[in-house]
Every structure is written in structure tokens, then in C-alpha cells.
Amino acid sequence: MTPITVRVDGASYTDDVEPRTLLVHYLREQLGKVGTVVGCDTSNCGACTVHLDGEAVKSCTVLAVQADGSEVTTIEGIAGADQLHPMQRAFHEMHGLQCGYCTPGMIMASIDLLKDNPDPSDEEVREGIEGNLCRCTGYQNIVRAVRSAAAEMRGGTAEGASNGHVSPAVVDTAAAPHVVVEAR
């Protein structure tokens, strides 16, 4: 067993771990951070993506001992209590998720993408998140969500995010009053 100290979502943890323990298993099994999930065993699907010292990593490719002394942010820590990160809100608004299993990883990868490129084109979003697999959405609404969040985070509007997209979804963009945890 090896002792490690890690800050996860703003709280500090000191634990003994087996050296072979993957970060994702440490997060899920020892810390109960089950918002981050496992989707494969070959680092292809990206469902387990978290931020390690501010950079997106697939937490199945990182040993827990490698995170010793680091700051980890998971889907559970990107917004304050009862708040939503603009990326979370955009995924909701643009219907960028269905079953939601890939969503935490997809959101974490997308936030990281915007750090490098605050105004990506459709193609740049598609290439930027190609390490994250989604089986439900066909990705189109994820692309819309990321571009919409990018616009909001740059301080603009989501205008142009649908780039000529012909879709019934744009017919009604009424607010969604059932979401009570909106960040303001």
C-alpha cells in the first residue's frame, strides 16, 4: 500500500492505495465519486475523463499514485452547489445527451477543448472530442452544445451554433423551467 494525498473537487483526501489502483477506481471505490464512470478497458471511450491539475485525462490511464499531490476535478466538482457549469447547461439545452453514461467524460473533455480553442468550428469540436465515444446521440447535438457553451463562455450568445442546421429542435427554444439548479 502506498499513501497518497489528493485534492478532489476541492476537498483533500489522504489514503493508502495499492500501487496498481487506477485513478478512476480510486475515485469511484474509495472516494465514492461515482459520477465518473468506466466504459471500456482500453482507454478508447473517454467516459472516465477528469481534470488532473487542470488538464483532461482519462482517469483509467492514470495510476492513483501518480495523482499524489495533485488536484483532481470531476464532473461533480465543476460547478458550485446547486449550480451548473455553462457546458452542463449547454448539454441540457441542446439535448446533447440521452442515456447520459458518456456525458460526464464528454463534458470534461469539452471544457478542456475550449481551454485550448475558445471558438471551435464544428469540425474542430468533432476532432477535439474524438477520444470520447457516445452511442446514443450521433454527436450532432453534442457539437451544438459545445459550440453553444463556447459562445456563452466567450460572453456572446449561442447564435451560429446551429449553423444552418435544419431541425425541429430549433422550432421551440423555450426555457426549461423544470431545471431548478441554474447558475446565474
Binding site: 495499492e18 469511484r28 465514492g32 465519486k33 461515482v34 459520477g35 465518473t36 464512470v37 468506466v38 466504459g39 471500456c40 478497458d41 482500453t42 478508447n44 471511450c45 467516459a47 461533480e76 451548473l84 452542463q88 448539454f91 441540457h92 439545452e93 439535448h95 445527451l97 440521452q98 442515456c99 447520459g100 453514461y101 458518456c102 460526464p104 463534458i107 464544428d122 468533432r126 476532432e127 472530442i129 474524438e130 477520444g131 470520447n132 465515444l133 457516445c134 452511442r135 446514443c136 446521440t137 450521433g138 454527436y139 450532432q140 447535438n141 442546421h165 435544419v166 431541425s167 425541429p168 429542435a169 422550432v171 421551440d172 423555450a174 423551467p177 423544470h178 431545471v179 431548478v180 439548479v181
Partner: protein, 822 residues
């Protein structure tokens, strides 16, 4: 201002038709989910499965002694340990009276029949401890020849998958329209035809590849068991587990918490679900099994897997005279829940949208030493749609006709609905012409055809092709009597109930169990309109047999059409019961009451009114209600449809094919789908997108490949190519709306449409791009290697080479890298 205008202003907008953002998202976007693998119970033990590394063998010995001694291992079980109590995985669809079912042990006892079959299970205090000890179980195999190829499996003298059976054929199913009285004599139609086109088409095996791996937790409590499982079908699972294990049904509670996708892949009674229950019963402790992705790809059921022999007969003018289909359908090693029935879900759909005078369908269900097949998005109908839409293109080429003109000449006219097909189905509604017109416009058809011409003339190495799929599908499973006539083991109804809570809030209980579709949102919209209560005041409960005791669950594009209708029927009963109470409280006759926007009012008596949410409180208090009624306005309903519903649409793909590299790229994809009335356009659009992605993936990327020894060589996401965002195009989607007459919502079902329609459009487009180079077929998926071979060597591109043959090909002219025979 007139009174009418006043009323219109006050009436809240209808919920049905609104692009409501999903209620479900609130827990999915911030990691507050309840996936089965999240579940932790005190004292919980972990199961790891020892799986067969060989495709076909007798088990000569299993030595578990080292595993039993491993640290933190609690127990190890072999097939022999559980043989007496494991029963057989149920097959609910004996498609013919003489269908052969070899039985399907959850854990192998004497023989293994596919790679990945369970041979022992290790139970440990942690997942890691159990997994480590898997390596210590020593199994000796006496290896037999694996049966892998469908055509070889049905040949004379073939090796047998099951040596106690006479052949590898499970069943032979025939539908002949002439014999059924729904069409003319097929042989005569072919004898009289001017033109007959025959093709052998291949439907490769696919893997559903839901993102959430399967997982099951079982908690024993006295003689009761609670099972959490990542399943699409908790209700079916409960019945089947009771029948298989002997645990009485009323002692079993099944919970499907948040479930991360299914696509038919979680429409199953899994061996591991049975094993987890048996182990929990043996040990009296809670147990969990969660699969790895590799386990999932090799041991969860696959889909598709057909060799299709398709013949079409026509006159010179393109009037189709008959269709003949013979299938070899890959069952895999065993029959799971609806394995044999999947091809039959397509049997009646090969005629597609066309008015065929004659039709004959034959199917052999064939055993192989591969994991069983079963439902995968579309289940039978993508296979049928592929065959008819591919053969229509081949016929058009043979006749020198425009493929769309040939389709138009033969499709059912908008004024002919309801239309009874040659397969005896009654298509409910539709308009193929308007869907096609809209799709052509969305695509920018004329421009792309002009560009195709320019590229042809200039000899551009990148050629352009346009492919059509004008499809319909049979969904909304299903009328129970029809299922009965097809020998299916259950009904196709759905149940719902509505509980009016004292504070006026509403609980809707549905037997349809969602795993990503958005039932909570859509059902809330339905009920909001029916009861006139706010969308936010409604909660939808599902997926727990103790909460939603009756249900048939979610698959076959049935939830809204059947389950949604049950919800509407329950709401109608609530309103009827509330009307009686309202009349009593308002001291009026029921006949004088109007119900609108959630309020009963007395006609002609302004101010005399009471809201349905107030009535809920009134019956809770129950101080004042009529003598002859119960103090409740709760209601339940079970809906059994009288017909399937038939969504349709036109999908058009424009495809670039690089003739020098074989690389294909979708230039543009346009689809117009008619799924009847749209309850939530956002959800409908999302379902179409996701279906398109999977249908396109079959055409371009995905294939479960076994090598000559029966090893799955696509056993990880490195090799099994689920497409990423960069691999898929933007979709231009639209809808036409012809309401379904068979349900009060008017909905037809949407979950499978994109997946059923898109595959042939993509393949037809690629062929259209290179047909002038002499290419007549390319086998799916259209890998660059296959496309290049088809262009430069003819044929259909051949087998996708496993590693060994790649190596062999390095020195031959077959290798793309050598340039071949250009």
C-alpha cells in the same frame, strides 16, 4: 375582445409538440446518477467470471483449488456445482413447432460452444481479488472443430455445434404469400417475368456496444431477493428468473436504475444475472458483477448476422412482379430470449413500401460456435430494409432506370392507405412522395447530381455517388394476438397508472422502462395535456417491479406508441373519476360539467368550478364524496394495440469515394422521417440522429470478426469501431407528419427508424459513385481495403482480413500497398 379570444389567450399552450428540455438531464449532467455499478451494500461480494478461451471444446477438468486458496476469495463455483439449479436461459420465441433448442446453460458444464462462455465464477471480497483469482482456475479442454461459417454449417457433412443434434439448423421458417392468400404464386411470377435480378447480400454481425457495461447486484433478504440490473426489461427479467431459478416471482424484486443505453443489447436474460442470483442465494450475501468492455463485446449478445439470397422479378417497364428471399440467420451457439425471432421481425418487411404481387420468404436459423445473436436496434427490420433497398437499386441498374423512378413506380400511393401488403400487414398511414420531395430538397439533389456528372466526365479520382433508402418499418410492438399467432411467448400490451397525490402533484407509473430515451419528459408532456396540470407537477416512475408492477418494457420502438397510450388511457380514467367527484362537490350534474385546462366548470354558471388538483386533496380528506364511489381518483390502464405502426421516410446519402485509396466519406446526409405525431421534437430529432449513427456505422465501420479458430478479433474498442464524432457527418433531418390512426397520440415510433433506414442509403451511394467502374457490390463495412479491392479487383471486396491473412498478403498482388492490377 370576444369571449373566444379570451379563452384562447388563457388556455396554456399544448405540451405535446413542445421541445421540452429533458427532466432526466438534471441528474445525468452532474454525475448524480444511479448506475448499477455505483451500488454498494454492506458485506457485498464481487463476482468475476472465468471464460472459455476456445470456441468449441469438451471440458475435461476444472481445478479451482488454487483459486480457492487465493487471498480474499470467498468461493469458487464451476458449472458442475450449479448444474442442478441453473436451468436454461429462456427462449421466449419458439418460431416453429419443431424448432430445435439445445438448451442454454448459464455456466458451461460439459462443453463450451463459444469463446467467452462462462466456465467458472470466482467470488471475492473485492473485485480485484476475484479478478486476480480468475487466473488461477485451471480448465482443461478437449478442443473440437469450431463451426463458424453459415453456408458451411448447413452443408452436408458439416461439423456440428451440438453433437447431440442432427444438424446445425434450429428451424426452417417459411412465409409464402401465395399459400397465405395475401399474394400471387411466387414461382409463377418469376416464370412470367421479363427480368430477374438475384443477389447474395451479407449482413455482418454487429455488437450493440451500449456505453454502460452490464452490471448486476443481488441482495438476499430472508427469502426475498432484490436485483438491480442494467437491463432494458426488468419486468420480463423477473418473470423469466422466477421460471428459471424457481425463486417465486413474488419473492423477486427487480430494479433497473439509471441504465446507460441498451439498443436491444440489454433486452436479455443474461447468464450472469442468473448466476448472480444463484450465488447470492447460496452465500446469503449481497453480490455484484460488473463486466469489463472486453467481456461485454465477447459475451453479451450480438446482432444481425445473415446471408441473404434475394431475387426480384420485374417487367421491362419496371413494374415489380415478385420478391423471393432466402436467409441463413446466425443464431450463434445457443438460443437466448428472442434469438430465433429476430429474423422473423423482418420476415414481413422485405416488401418494404412497394406493391408487390408475389412474395416468398424462407429462413434457416443456424447454429455456429459464436456468441448468440439477439435483438439489436431494428432487430430484423434493418436486415429486411437493406435487402429490398439494395435489390431495388440493382434492378434499376439492370433496367437502366433511375433508382428513384423505379421506386416511385412501385410504391404505395398516399391515397391507398390503409394498404394491405403482400405480406398481409396493414400499413396505417403515410405519404412517400412528400417525404421524398422534402428529402431531395434538404440534400440539394440537383446540384449534387450535376457535380457527380462533372466528376465522371473529368475522371476525378474522387467520385461522387447518391444513394436512396425509401423505407418503412413495423414498430410499436405489438398486438398481443399477432404475437400469439407468431408463437411468441408473451403479449405486447403496456400498463400505466396515475396516482393523484394530496397536494395535487401527480405520479405517473409506467411499465415502459427507459434507458436514455426520455420517457420522464415525454410522459409528463402527455399527462400535462390530459389532466391540465403543470409539466413540473408530474413525476414519472419506472423500472422497479415494486413500484411499476406491470410492464413489458422498452424495445421495438414501442414505448410511446403502446406505453404512452396506456398513460393517456389512465389519465382519461382519472378525469372520468374526478368528474364524478366534481359534480358532487359543485352540486351539478356530470353532464353539465366541462373539463378544460385542469378545471371542471359548470356550464352557464360562472365561478362554479374546481381544479383536478383540488379534487385530489378532497378525496384524500374524503370528508365529502358521493356514497356510491370510492374516495380516489387514481387509475390504471393496460393498452394492447390492434395493429403495428409503420413509420416511413426517405433517406438520401451523398458519398465521395476516393478511387485511389478506397476511402469513403459522406458528403451530405439528408433524411425526412414520418414518425406520426411528434410529442417532443427535440427527443425525436435525437433518436433519429442516434439511429443514423448506428446505421451508418454498420455500413462503414462496425463488424464483429471471428478468426478461423473462433476467436473474436474485435474484442476491444480498439478493434470494434464504434464511430467517434470525427467519423460521422452532420445530418440534415426533417419530418412529415401523418398521424398513426391506431393510437390516440397519433405516434408511430422513432427509436429504430434512423438505424433501419440509413445503412442501404450509404451502401447504395458508394456503389453509385463507382458503378461506372464495374463495381456491383461492396461488402459491409465499406473499409478502404474492401472498396479499393472492389474497384481494382472486382468482387465485393472480400473478407476483412484477420491479421494472419494480412501477413500472407504482403507478397501478393492482393495487397493494396503493392498497387495491384491497375
Amino acid at each position: 375582445m370576444t369571449v373566444t379570444e379570451d379563452a384562447a389567450d388563457l388556455a396554456p399552450a399544448k405540451e405535446v409538440g413542445k421541445a421540452r428540455r429533458r427532466k432526466e438531464d438534471a441528474r445525468l449532467i452532474n454525475g448524480r446518477t444511479t448506475w448499477t455499478d455505483n451500488m454498494v451494500l454492506p458485506g457485498m461480494l464481487h463476482i468475476a467470471v472465468v471464460r472459455s478461451p476456445v470456441a468449441h471444446a469438451k471440458i475435461t477438468s476444472v481445478d479451482v483449488s488454487a483459486a480457492q486458496q487465493a487471498p480474499n476469495v470467498v468461493a469458487v463455483f464451476t458449472g458442475r456445482d450449479l448444474a442442478e439449479e441453473q436451468g436454461s436461459i429462456p427462449c421466449a420465441w419458439p418460431v416453429t413447432p419443431d424448432m430445435v433448442n439445445p438448451g442454454h446453460p448459464s455456466i458451461a458444464v460439459d462443453e463450451v460452444n463459444h469463446v467467452g462462455e462462462a466456465v467458472a465464477i470466482v467470488v471475492g471480497r473485492s473485485k480485484a481479488a476475484a479478478q486476480d483469482a480468475v487466473e488461477l482456475v485451471d480448465v482443461d479442454y478437449d478442443v473440437l472443430t469450431p463451426v463458424l461459417d453459415l453456408e458451411e454449417a448447413v452443408a452436408n457433412g458439416a461439423d456440428l455445434v451440438h453433437d447431440h443434434l442432427e444438424s446445425n439448423t434450429s428451424y426452417h421458417f417459411v412465409f409464402d404469400a401465395g399459400e397465405a392468400g395475401t399474394g400471387a404464386d411466387t414461382e409463377q411470377a418469376f416464370a412470367d417475368a421479363d427480368v430477374v435480378v438475384s443477389r447474395r447480400l451479407l449482413q455482418q454481425r454487429l455488437i450493440p456496444a451500449f456505453m454502460e457495461p452490464r452490471s448486476v447486484v443481488v441482495q438476499p433478504q430472508g427469502d426475498n431477493f432484490t436485483m438491480w440490473s442494467a437491463t432494458q426489461v426488468p419486468h420480463i427479467l423477473r418473470v423469466m428468473l422466477a421460471m428459471v431459478t424457481g425463486v417465486p416471482e413474488h419473492k423477486l424484486r427487480i430494479i433497473a436504475p439509471d441504465v446507460g443505453g441498451g439498443f436491444g443489447g440489454k433486452l436479455q436474460v443474461n447468464p450472469e444475472e442468473i448466476l448472480a442470483l444463484l450465488v447470492a442465494r447460496r452465500l446469503g450475501k449481497p453480490v455484484k458483477w460488473t463486466e469489463t468492455r472486453s467481456e461485454s463485446l465477447m459475451s453479451a449478445h450480438h446482432g444481425r448476422g445473415q446471408v441473404q439470397f434475394v431475387d426480384i422479378a420485374s417487367d421491362r417497364e419496371g413494374n415489380v412482379k415478385g420478391l423471393r428471399v432466402r436467409l441463413l440467420a446466425d443464431m450463434g451457439a445457443y438460443l437466448r430470449l428472442i434469438t430465433p425471432g429476430v429474423p422473423l421481425l423482418g420476415a414481413l418487411m422485405f416488401p418494404g413500401i412497394y406493391k408487390l404481387p408475389a412474395y416468398r420468404f424462407e429462413c434457416d436459423g443456424v447454429f455456429t460456435n459464436k456468441v448468440p445473436t439477439d435483438a439489436y436496434r431494428g432487430a430484423g427490420r434493418p436486415e429486411a430494409t437493406f435487402a429490398i433497398e439494395r435489390i431495388m437499386d440493382e434492378l434499376a441498374v439492370e433496367l437502366g432506370m433511375d433508382p428513384l423512378e423505379l421506386r416511385r413506380k412501385n410504391w404505395i400511393g398516399a391515397d391507398e392507405f390503409p394498404f394491405t401488403t403482400v405480406a398481409g400487414l396493414e400499413y396505417d398511414s403515410g405519404n412517400y412522395e412528400t417525404a421524398t420531395r422534402d428529402a431531395l430538397q434538404l440534400l440539394g439533389y440537383d446540384e449534387l447530381r450535376a457535380e457527380q456528372q462533372r466528376r465522371r466526365e473529368s475522371g476525378d479520382p474522387v467520385q461522387l455517388g447518391i444513394g436512396f433508402s425509401t423505407f418503412t418499418e413495423m414498430c410499436g410492438l405489438a398486438p398481443s394476438r399477432v404475437l400469439g399467432s407468431l408463437a411468441y411467448g408473451a403479449g405486447g400490451w403496456e400498463a400505466a397508472s396515475i396516482r393523484m397525490l394530496p397536494t395535487g402533484k401527480v405520479e405517473v407509473v409506467t411499465g415502459s422502462t427507459p434507458h436514455g430515451q426520455g420517457h420522464e419528459t415525454a410522459w409528463s408532456q402527455l399527462v400535462a395535456d390530459q389532466l391540465g396540470v403543470p409539466f413540473e407537477d408530474i413525476e414519472v416512475l419506472h423500472g422497479d417491479t415494486a413500484v411499476a408492477s406491470k410492464g413489458m418494457d422498452t424495445y421495438g420502438s414501442r414505448s410511446l406508441v403502446v406505453g404512452g397510450t396506456a398513460v393517456v388511457k389512465a389519465a382519461e380514467k382519472v378525469v372520468a373519476k374526478a368528474r364524478t367527484i366534481a359534480a358532487h362537490l359543485l352540486e351539478a350534474s356530470e353532464d353539465d360539467l366541462e373539463f378544460a385546462s385542469g378545471t371542471f366548470s359548470v356550464r352557464g354558471t360562472p365561478g362554479a368550478e374546481i381544479g383536478i388538483q383540488e379534487i385530489a386533496l378532497a378525496v384524500f380528506a374524503a370528508h365529502d364524496y358521493p356514497d356510491d364511489v370510492e374516495p380516489s381518483i387514481d387509475a390504471e390502464a393496460t393498452f394492447d394495440p390492434v395493429n403495428f405502426s409503420f413509420p416511413h421516410g426517405t433517406h438520401i446519402c451523398a458519398m465521395e469515394v476516393d478511387t485511389e485509396t478506397g476511402f469513403v466519406k459522406i458528403r451530405k446526409y439528408a433524411s425526412v422521417d414520418d414518425v406520426g405525431t411528434i410529442v417532443n421534437p427535440l427527443i425525436v430529432e435525437g433518436q433519429i440522429h442516434g439511429g443514423l449513427a448506428q446505421g451508418i456505422a454498420q455500413a462503414l465501420y462496425e463488424e464483429a470478426i471471428y478468426d478461423d479458430d473462433g476467436n473474436l478479433t474485435t474484442g476491444t474498442f480498439v478493434d470494434y469501431l464504434v464511430p467517434s464524432a470525427a467519423d460521422l457527418p452532420h445530418f440534415d433531418t426533417g419530418n412529415t407528419v401523418n398521424a398513426a390512426p391506431g393510437n390516440p397520440i397519433g405516434a408511430k415510433g422513432v427509436g429504430e427508424a434512423g438505424c433501419i433506414a440509413s445503412t442501404p442509403a450509404v451502401v447504395n451511394a458508394a456503389l453509385d459513385a463507382v458503378r461506372h467502374l464495374g463495381v456491383t457490390d461492396i461488402r459491409m463495412p465499406l473499409t478502404p481495403e474492401r472498396v479499393w479491392r472492389a474497384i481494382h479487383h472486382g468482387g465485393d471486396g472480400g473478407d476483412r482480413a484477420p491479421a494472419r491473412t494480412n501477413v500472407q498478403a504482403v507478397d501478393s498482388t492482393d495487397a493494396p500497398s503493392t498497387g495491384g492490377a491497375r
